[in-house]
Symmetry: C2
Subunit: 144 residues, 2 copies
DNA sequence: CAAATTGTTGATTAACTCACTCATGTTTAC
DNA sequence: GTAAACATGAGTGAGTTAATCAACAATTTG
C-alpha cells in the first residue's frame, strides 16, 4: 500500500515548478539537483506530466519546463493518478479505472463486504488528495 | 497504491472464519473453495495469521482453523498490517514502521510538504481500517 | 498399527513491477 | 556548427507478487 517513487519525485518536482510559476522556466538538471532526483528518471516523469497537459517544455539551450496550469487548479490526486494510476486500494472500487474482480464470490453484488470498506478508504484518500492543490502544497498547508 | 491479493484473500478468509466463530473449525480446503482462493497460497496466509495470534489450528483428520480472538477485537487494519505491512503511503509517515526518507531535501524537517499531505492520508486510512472490526465486516457494515 | 487426512515448513517459480540507466535522437541559442 | 537542452525508446538488475511443489509431522479412524 505505497505510492511509488515516481509519484513522490513527481510531486517534489512540481513543488519546484510551482515556486517558479509565472517567472522562470526550470531545467530538469536544476530540479534534479535541488530535489535529489536522478536526472534521467526525472525526465520520464516530466514528460508524462507534459503529455498529461500540466507542463510545457522548450528544447535547446535556454530551454526548460514550466507549469501551464495554475497551481490552484492542479490537485495532488490528479498528479498521482497520472504517475501511479488509480487511487483506489483495489480495482473494484476505483471510480476512474473500475475493474471487476474476477474471483470474488460477491462479484456483481453491491453487498460485498470488501467493496464496502475499500470504497470508504478510497473516498477518504480521494477526499484529501483531490482537494489539495499544488498551491496548498507549495504553501506547506491546506487553506480552507 | 494497491493492497495485495494476500490482504484481500486474508480478509475474505477471515470473513468465513468469523461466521464460523464459536461453532465449528474450518479447513483450509473449505475456505479456499468458498472464497475461490488457491489452497496453497491460502495456507501461507492462514499460517501468517496464526503466527500473529489471530488463529489456532488443529492438525490431522477433523482438523482445521478457527479464530481465537473475538471478531469485535480484530481490526481490518491489524490484519492488513500483518499481511501487507504498514498502511502509510510512504515510509516517513508510518507510525508502525517509520523510515527516514533518504533523499528528501526536507528530511528531518517537520515542514516537509510531502510529509504533511501523506501524513493526513495515512491518518484517514488508519482511522477507517483500525476502527472497522471483523464483526463489522461480517455484518456487512460498520455499526457505530 | 496402518492408512488417510490434514496442517507445517521451506524451496522454487514465472511473471511482473520498480527505479533506474543508456543510447540515440532532435531542437534551439549563440 | 556546435554546445546545450529536451525527446524517445529500449534495456536492466533488483525486488515483489502470487503461486506451486515437495517433503514432513500430527491426528483420527478403521
Amino acid at each position: 500500500m505505497k505510492f511509488s517513487k515516481k509519484s513522490e519525485y513527481g510531486l517534489r518536482a512540481l513543488l519546484e515548478l510551482t515556486r517558479a510559476y509565472g517567472s522562470t522556466t526550470l531545467q530538469r538538471h536544476d530540479i534534479a539537483v535541488r530535489q535529489h532526483i536522478p536526472v534521467e528518471f526525472l525526465e520520464q516523469i516530466l514528460l508524462a506530466l507534459k503529455r498529461a497537459g500540466l507542463l510545457s517544455s522548450k528544447r535547446g539551450a535556454k530551454g526548460g519546463y514550466r507549469l501551464i496550469k495554475q497551481p490552484k487548479d492542479i490537485s495532488l490526486g490528479s498528479v498521482i493518478r497520472i504517475l501511479d494510476g488509480p487511487l483506489a486500494p483495489i480495482g473494484c472500487v476505483s471510480k476512474t479505472a473500475y475493474q471487476k474482480c474476477s474471483d470474488c464470490p460477491y462479484a456483481n453484488h453491491a453487498h460485498c463486504p470488501v467493496q464496502q470498506v475499500m470504497g470508504s478508504v478510497r473516498d477518504a484518500i480521494a477526499d484529501i488528495l483531490d482537494n489539495y492543490t499544488l498551491a496548498d502544497f507549495a504553501a506547506g498547508s491546506k487553506h480552507t
